[in-house]
């Protein structure tokens, strides 16, 4: 069966188009979304939705918390209990949601600027505490929603509206940051590596503790345009040709430099007690029978 001719409306007696398989996980009344053509956030959402479907979880118990920015809009499009919070505080908010009901699975879906710049403090402390949540950090090297400003992940010499002479600051290496703060699962993929990304997200969701999946995505309208890197498709082709899979690589070597190879893969997968495990263990030790472990309702 060939695709319907798009210039015409299908005749009334034609078979109704079946729905997209992801529609049950999306707020279809708000689709099409606001993200630009070629934006990788949509692909990341597809990978996330696919991961959730494959896990066959009770989706009533999954919450998405987003901050502000392009990626921050993810919460508004997912048909889960979702929160669009303040800039940088998604991780802190998610901490409250999780501790209020530990039986929930909480996913923080936010951008590089939101999580690592203004939200840096909450990110490092939640990693330190090993809060049980999964952070999907969409990294497009720029602050896109506000018009293309320099971000703490902008590679050196990259142009942005607030680095008109080229960025001279050393950017963050997110996997290294996450590892050094205590995250138990750290992976990085590009939006092109959809299947590996889905698999990583599945692993991250199932892993108790603070897991971080960084997704390098194309931002054609700001990062690509300001730096004359071509269209979103050109950016994707760049990621195709210049990403190198090195599972288990030392996170200190994972810096991203302008137009050089990007190392992707799963870097950290280790065990540590989560915040609540440590809390229950310690208080159980100190208070004995008088303490009822905190597990939520």
């Amino acid at each position: 069966m060939s695709a319907p001719k798009v210039a015409e409306k299908p005749p009334p007696e034609a078979v109704e188009q079946p729905p997209h398989p992801m529609e049950s996980l999306l707020r279809m009344e708000r689709i099409p979304h606001i993200w630009c053509p070629t934006c990788g956030i949509g692909t990341t959402v597809t990978a996330f939705a696919s991961a959730l479907e494959k896990l066959k979880w009770d989706l009533d118990k999954v919450c998405v918390v987003s901050g502000i920015g392009c990626t921050g809009r993810v919460a508004g499009y997912m048909r889960l209990d979702s929160f669009h919070t303040t800039h940088g505080r998604a991780v802190a908010y998610a901490t409250g949601v999780k501790l209020g009901n530990p039986k929930l699975k909480v996913v923080v879906f936010s951008g590089d600027g939101d999580l690592i710049a203004i939200g840096g403090n909450h990110f490092i402390h939640a990693a330190r505490r090993n809060m049980d949540m999964t952070v999907i950090c969409v990294n497009n090297f720029i602050y896109a929603m506000t018009g293309g400003q320099c971000a703490p992940t902008t590679p050196p010499t990259g142009y942005a509206t607030t680095s008109p002479y080229g960025n001279f600051e050393q950017p963050f290496n997110i996997p290294h940051l996450a590892e050094s703060c205590g995250a138990v699962y750290v992976a990085r993929w590009t939006a092109l590596h959809v299947r590996r990304l889905t698999a990583s997200i599945m692993e991250a969701l199932q892993k108790p503790g603070f897991s971080v999946v960084e997704v390098i995505t194309p931002c054609a309208n700001y990062w690509g345009r300001i730096n004359r890197l071509g269209t979103g498709l050109d950016l994707m082709k760049f990621y195709h040709e210049h990403s190198v899979i090195q599972h288990g690589a030392d996170t200190r070597t994972l810096d991203i430099e302008f137009q050089k190879d990007i190392i992707v893969g799963k870097f950290i997968d280790r065990e540590r007690p989560t915040f609540l495990e440590a809390y229950n263990k310690r208080l159980g030790q100190m208070l004995g029978d008088r303490f009822e472990p905190y597990e939520g309702d």
Binding site: M1, V6, H20, M22, T46, V194, M236
Partner: protein, 93 residues
């Protein structure tokens, strides 16, 4: 698909066939699906959708092997693949 030699189990393998559905009005003409289809089944059409983008069109309906890469890559939930009836693989010598 061209093989150097004929695989021993070529009689038993059934290559999946996919039925591509394109939700044209959701498409934003990014071109990911066309670029990354491993069987080059899609091409950008000359038609316009309601927003003025060129959605893809299926140029080789028999070639789709239901890998669903287009479905996974599409940022706009505008293309997906459903399994078609299985047919035996045709192996070219």
């Amino acid at each position: 698909m061209k093989y150097w030699r004929r695989p021993l189990d070529s009689d038993e393998v059934e290559v999946p066939r996919g039925e591509i559905h394109i939700i044209a009005d959701r498409c934003k003409g990014c071109g990911f699906c066309v670029e990354y289809c491993p069987k080059s089944v899609l091409e950008m059409s000359e038609e316009y959708n309601a927003k003025g983008y060129h959605p893809p069109r299926v140029k080789d309906p028999e070639g789709c092997v239901q890998c669903q890469l287009c479905e996974m890559l599409c940022p706009d939930f505008a293309i997906f693949v459903l399994p078609k009836e299985q047919k035996e693989a045709r192996v070219e010598g």
